[in-house]
Amino acid sequence: MSRIAIVGAGGFVGTSLIESLVLDGHTEVRAVVRSYRNMAGFCRWGDAVEVRLADATNEASLVKAFEGAAVVVNLTTGVPAGIVQSTRAIYSACRKAGVPRFVHLSSAVVYGDVEQPIDDDALPLDNLWMPYARAKAESERWLRTQHDSDLDLVVLRPGIVWGVRSSHTLGFAHALARKSSFLVDGGSSIFNGIYIANLVAMIRAACAKPGKAAGFYNAGDAETVTWRQFYDALGGPLDCDPARLPVVSGEKFPWSLGAAIDAVQSQSLVNALYHRLKTRIPDGLKAAIRARLEGAYNFERHASQYAIAVAVNRELWHLQRVRHKLPVQKFARDFDFVMPVGFPEAVQQTVSWLEAIGLAVPTSESSAKLNRAIYS
């Protein structure tokens, strides 16, 4: 594999990809980041990682940063209003810099709640409520209109990226430890996730395939897992029995003040204004607002009482309503790819990380529960 330029290298997927490349002896890794602070996540590798500064929405700076790269991987997220702009700028910069392959990360959220079975080549949905989903869908639609025989385009569409260092996983783990989580319809719907090491392996396969490679692909773990099974797997080490969590109906979203604010904020204009304001509010004020919204803090290591009524987050409610697993066979076929980490192993690795950061408590009982959850 020759030189890989990773845009958005300082984020969760970026640092995991760099870790995997460096530890496997890959010597030509280039991190493309907007500012120096994004180096923190990969500074442990020293000179093994070349660093270039570039703004993902500024084509000229990207062209310079992509010089000599054999593959560009786009892992940027940023504010929804900037996602389409950065996708266009990165694609265009790849062409101008003569990069032969562009691997772009879209998201499974472009298919909303996956109410019908969907294949890898289905178009993204139009009426998505979440600004991030709308931006990812629009980016994909735009990329589908681009045709350049000199530039391979591989688009990966991961579901919830979970596991070691995942902010989603941290959120789930904190809620389970506080016993303030919930299950929609008892957790019977599909957890459309992909373990981070599996996603990293897919990205690397997309980068490394010799010859031409192009297409749009779903990215998910091999197993079909329900939300209840996922929570069962993590719950034990977090001292939480998911059977005791409140069950929320998947028929109708339970509105609350917080959810209403969220809904207003998801409107395109309001969302753009919100993100603009966020950058201008002093850190002290932001911290004070966060503290106020957070409410009373629970100083216990793990909460002793299960919540009776919980505030239902709209995004998580929708994620827990997914009816169908996105098929992942197309990538396996085209890239001769086998998912390297199975669900039980992924859970064990994740729990070992949760233990390392002090969230999960290692006990033989929790390990036994975990094994039962995985193998039953």
Partner: protein
Amino acid sequence: MSVRTIVVGCGAVAQRLYRKPLAQLAKRRLIEVVALVDPAAAHAQEMLLAFPAARHFTSLDEACGATHPELTLVLTPPALHCAQTLTALAHGSHVLCEKPMANSSAECGRMIDAATAAQRVLAIGMVRRFFPAFAHLRQVVQAQELGVLQSFEYREGHKFEWAVTTPAAFRPRSQGGAGVLFDIGTHALDFLLSVFGDLEAEEYADDAAGGIECNVAMKLRAPQCRGSLDLSWDVPQVNVLRIVGTRAEAALRLDRFDQLAVTANGVFVPRTIDQSFPVDIKRDGRRIVPLSYADAVLCQLVQVLRAISLGEQPAVAGAEGAACIALLERALDMARPLPEPWLSASQRAAAARLHGSAR
């Protein structure tokens, strides 16, 4: 009395932490910022907006020669702290040097010796000493409210979001980098030292693999008990310090200024936090309970002014700053690879091979 002050280093620390409290003190005529020293004109320009009468220099020696400061604030990357402190002291200026005091004990020793010889104040910027809940916890432990101490657990980490203006901190230590140990670690160990009086490193592991560490795990021994310290630059930790005693347990939120709880009959009860600090150089002047970084830095600056004018002790003097660096050095001497059981066997072996290769 306005204390003629030089700011050395006009990057993120100066702009985000010091500009506002300095401007407040300048308005009250307690401080006069006479010079701004930074090789990057753009950084100095940002600070000049708040202190238009100050002169911009690229050399500290030149700035001291031209403006004769009474106080020099050293707000540069750690690798520069020693040389700049020595320069300022040589010109007869008192010094407030941001943490970490320096990159080695040898440098700390030179700084302390120079301050002693010049009979000038050498204070180290450890702003968390002015967080009211932190000060309250110190009192709780020292008053033996927790009983005999049994253990402690310090966990702090978050994705690095400090808007640094240079990549200096992220370079390997051999190239002057600081890493999470010298960044959050100095705050953590300084505070734990102030709570327990003494600390010794028993084990130390980090994830440096050719570069600078991003995650750290330590085992520590205090006079009464043992404990652990975990720090991260790339993932949020639980951000709590727990101290367990025979009588009660205390839990301090490390990402807040005023949140501490102590158990009573096994249940955590939040404490009312009212620890205040002077914001005036009069002996019985006004005090505030700091609830923001700006407040805490203001109190820290005032404490240095009081050390200069009233002869009080700075919150953290050179000797305490040096004790913290010495502890970090002893820890680094026993560094081993941080366990990362989630990696594959071959990746763990590769990480172990790379570990410490740039030390």
